[in-house]
Subunit: 287 residues, 6 copies
């Protein structure tokens, strides 16, 4: 491992492995394979902590997110834990509907914020899907920037099957991130399984690989490529693309101009141009 991305302190979080497979690249692995990587509460809390740290770590410029084991990226919420949690979150039976509603709202927002921590992470995140990728798998991948998949991946937006309108991101992000609203509505309203090929066709993932191993390699390759670029340019590009997704073009342009008024005062431009003339890879200083 290159000194450049030896983190100052160990990343030690239950149900996650965090490693540094290449210079400036972090690898976050969901690690509860005996339960198909299904999520219990501590997991989304840890996920949020990990990505919040990586966001400002100068040793990290790109991240991949994968699931441990052969069978699943994640099967989604641990249903048993979730249905108990739903009751707990509402509070006791003595509460009226309004008080239950308020408790639920607080908990949903807390849960959403954990997933959104991945989107807010300043560094790009490449999600690598394989195997069972249901429910929260989709929420989580949509909060990442780039999605690739093994061809054995099966996806589903499962929530209507358990009586819930998905609320940690799928319904908010899907209509913005992939093509064909007709397809979006179909998979969300029927909860049917869909294949890696369908995911590719409709743009949920941008490439397929024959196996999990190759998909992870592809994810790593993309992350390494990003990590070689100017960290100032990469951070700005992620930030502005997310801003533009949610604003009109005029707003996007003005915001970009203000953003770049500070960000163009970067040595990276000179470093990049010079190394281009000298036919070598540029070396950018830490962010």
């Amino acid at each position: 491992m290159a000194p450049n991305n030896t983190p100052e302190e160990k990343y030690d979080y239950e149900y996650f492995n965090v490693t540094f497979p290449a210079e400036y690249v972090a690898h976050v692995e969901i690690n509860r394979p005996d339960k198909l990587n299904a999520f219990v509460e501590v997991m989304w809390l840890n996920l949020s902590k990990i990505f919040t740290r990586l966001s400002t770590s100068p040793s990290v410029r790109a991240i991949i997110l994968t699931g441990a084991g052969d069978r699943a990226f994640t099967a989604g919420l641990d249903v048993k834990a979730a249905s108990q949690g739903l009751l707990t979150q509402q509070g006791g039976a003595e509460l009226d509907g309004a008080r239950k509603a308020n408790n639920l709202r607080r908990h949903i927002i807390e849960f959403q914020d954990c997933i959104t921590a991945v989107e807010k992470c300043e560094k790009p995140v490449v999600c690598v899907y394989h195997g069972v990728s249901y429910g929260l798998a989709v929420d989580l991948g949509l909060a990442c920037d780039i999605r690739v998949a093994a061809s054995d991946t099966t996806f589903a937006v499962k929530e209507v099957d358990i009586g819930i309108a998905a609320d940690v991101g799928t319904l908010s992000r899907l209509p913005k991130l992939i093509s064909s609203n007709s397809f979006v509505k179909e998979i969300c309203l029927t909860a049917r399984l869909f294949s890696a090929n369908e995911a590719l066709t409709h743009g949920l993932v941008s490439s397929l690989k024959p196996s999990k191993q190759e998909a992870v390699q592809e994810g790593l390759k993309i992350a390494k490529l990003i990590a070689e670029k100017s960290p100032v340019a990469v951070l700005g590009t992620k930030h502005i693309l997310n801003y533009s997704r949610d604003h009109g073009v005029d707003e996007g342009l003005k915001y970009t101009a203000v953003w770049n008024s500070g960000m163009l005062q970067s040595r990276d431009v000179g470093d990049a141009v010079l190394s281009g003339l000298e036919k070598r890879k540029p070396v950018f200083s830490k962010l």
Copy 2:
């Protein structure tokens, strides 16, 4: 027909057949086949009435919309009626440009509201295209949630051919619902015909079937599948997906949290989990 979706009163509206082919499923058929199902004013008024009723009918959880006859879903506006209507709507020749403009605005908004009644219908609507599907056919399908087509379907956004910028929904919804703005601009600016295959490629429809009959069966299959799910979850999913289409992700997430603060207090969650454990289909109470 199951007692569960025998509507309380008959749906008796000129130019439309409304039937109930399966439990909780309604079938609305545009019925003016001798004129290629072209629309005259009474038709969009009736369309609005039908979908407004279905929206809150406890006997209905999913709807399919089709066109009668072999030749056309609909050829769009009845041009002869429409060009007369345009004159009528402006008012007499003695009016000045401003007064004509005000009359036209009132009429356009009234017309738009009729088509938007399909979008506002709380229950998902599956549109099944076949044959000639021009002009209003596209406006109408875009107000539905899921679109499937027979492979003989030919589409066109015809309005520039008659000197009009389409104003009952196509121009507002197309840039949000399908991929490739370049394709959207091309079909809207040239009024050229495009095929079912192009519609599939660009995500206007999410599946093709070889014949009208098979397309209708597919639409019915999807509607039945939706009708088996928790009606609370389905209604919320449609509602939030439409909200998210028009808002940024942060707004979407907050709205979802508020929505679900009430909607998670549903017996459907328990019913779904229990039936899952018991390996049987859940039965959800009426909405």
Copy 3:
């Protein structure tokens, strides 16, 4: 050349050829082929002047934009000129960071406005890509309405390679104009080349032709087709589609109603209907 689109005065702008190959059709050619049509500052200033004039010229109803020579639509910014410009734009070394930021913001907005002049041009613009199409090539094409490409086109969003988050339109428009956010993020964050086929798959272009010549013919064909339609309807269709891209559906519908309250008072509707009955092409008066 038909008298109808002989412009009143010559279009004489350095690095651009402007011709009128068909009735109501203008052809703007970027003309610096020895430098792969790379842009220096005078070029975007001229581009803006040309499209601002074409916008209100009654002799023009559709425009195609191409690059001279066999090798490139445009290789993007002239890097040498650009890196000098960046220094100039910041102002001298005696300035503090804030004053440099203010200078940069002014210059970025001025540059953006030049590219946006293509989007604001009232008449539709068809962009024909071929060969090297990097950086500004993408910004520029996205400000056009319809994009077609020769199959030899190679695209790249190059900015992260020179330490910059793209700021003249790509990051603001891409998330709105093409499908698959995963693909958008990948090409913007890695700066990798992508092929004409990928551009087609993801909807950046709506058709491919085997050669530059055929692609230009296709662009011309589309422009001619548009130029035959009602200019009132075409102008409104472009305007409303752009508005709708940036607003929710409700806003889009209301705006359309107000727009059409004036625009339906057009003789084009009658002209179109009459010529339809008489089985001949309609002739529309100038706009």
Copy 4:
């Protein structure tokens, strides 16, 4: 009464008097004085019907809204009826929280739409307050355009006193329509009474008169003055001011330009200028 504003058919709605005290002026009086004009459901349904009719009546150019009797404009919701209604609206005790929530949402939106009918009425509405003006009195007045008050008026935003966050308009409109957010929060969170003088100071009303009679005369005077102006200009002014309240300045300007592109083609401009030269009141044709 001038022939110009004899309505075609009588306005006959329970709990309301509708008269036409001057040319082009309508007077809507809430008429349940023995109950302090407190609202039961039929009243807001009728209110909506009345204003929807007045909106497009060519005999009406301005409207005043008052309450019958000496004691109250309106005491707000009829609490007894409202608390029964709240139970009814939720549906029976056998319903779960989600189903109750859905029923409540439908009913709130229906109720809101009735009040918003006053805002959507194309013609300006002058609200004249006197005496007890609680709860719905504020919701209703805020949906009007101009508010005047008798000096004996006492206002209150009462909802927190009965366990409810006000939901038919006060909380949505107050932060936009009057000054001092601190005052807005105070009256809404404490439900305290506030005087006509406070209402004047904070801009809720724009003038005070010593008695109900004089306040009604003032309202009528304003309505008559408006009714003498160009109906095209008045309708546009109300419409654009409401639009601008909810949009940024850039959006407001563009919308105004599109609106006026149709609306300046009015004979009223010539009529107004000519009558100005001839030193007489202009006579504008009906809208």
Copy 5:
């Protein structure tokens, strides 16, 4: 002190006193009087922690915020600490402008989030101004809900005097919260002192009292009054008023309907109505 608002654990935060002067009322006092309550970094971090805890404490329904000592609510940032902080936040001299910009952005957002914690606190906050109230005093008060002042208060938006555009809330909130944009611009662009009377006239505060002591009593009186109301209704009222400040009326109404669909299922409505009939104060259960 009533058992109802004995907090579970002590609130022990440097530079702040937190007490519970009445049932369900918390009192937060800024406590660095020897430095005119000027803020150093630990103070805004503590402020955020305090209000985040109070937000969900069932023992608290309303809060007052005051400054210790006779001379100042707060003189704003501790300038010495702040100018050192500014250098620290940028990072070392070896950083380029872009890296400094990124560091500054992270720090500003962190600082803003601390102040916004007061706005996000679910319970209403009454700010009581006295004496010197400069810079951060205004930012902070604007994040509260209701503002009252002693008549000796002097205000200033000081930032242009130290070369900064205010960035922790004043510039974002002032144009929305008080009347007269001309006054807002004047005080922000000139940094001139303005009096308690001007603050009252322009709605920055909603009442004045002759002394600090009386102003605190007034603040406490308002907080007690709020604490007696239904906590469900109060929380909803604050939440929706803040939402409405930032959204158009249509959006506000729809959001309110969804919010209340859960929140009207409250026992508080029945409790309030019943106690009204029984002429006694209602007792509401904890939130």
Copy 6:
């Protein structure tokens, strides 16, 4: 006059005097007093040119705008010229309603852009009203930042009197810039005159002076005060206040953070702090 604000070239524009009465202060005087400073087209074109130049002139940090002569700031549009202009702008009688609408829209936007040039001017503008201040006087003042008035000023929003909904800014800006929507609606719908005192009460102006001369002195005093402050801070403060007027608080905060990430890298902060310690006025370098 100090060398610091001797402009490089003379400002020589018909109907305007541009002088430099104090260091870094420009004075723009509308100069057509024999016609009550009524505007003809060349005037708004010149106005735009002047403010666009002042916007980036390093010799200017604040501007006052006044009207020549004793009788009027401006009586608004020159009605005779305007009514001829309206006809010209529509184009000849042979045009249909749609073509006229398009011509009108182009002209309105061009006119609006000229007035908005004052708002877009990077430097603050103080408007000094006196005497007749009708129609365009209000549009123009609202595009300025601070408004003061002589007590003899009479205002009117005159447009409904000539059959027009005001379209160069009053209707878009008034609902955002002053308190009391009821007052806004009243003056816009009735076109009645209102006094300087009413303008003060409702926040249209922030101070009154007994005579034109004293009002101009007050405007000059404010402008000088602003011109002494950090030009980086002043420019940012104007820019962000305008942004915040049109966006929600969350958006405003994020934008401010990005803006200040560049703008806090300013020597002005150090210059201001140092001069504070040394008890002297800071001298800031040019922008």
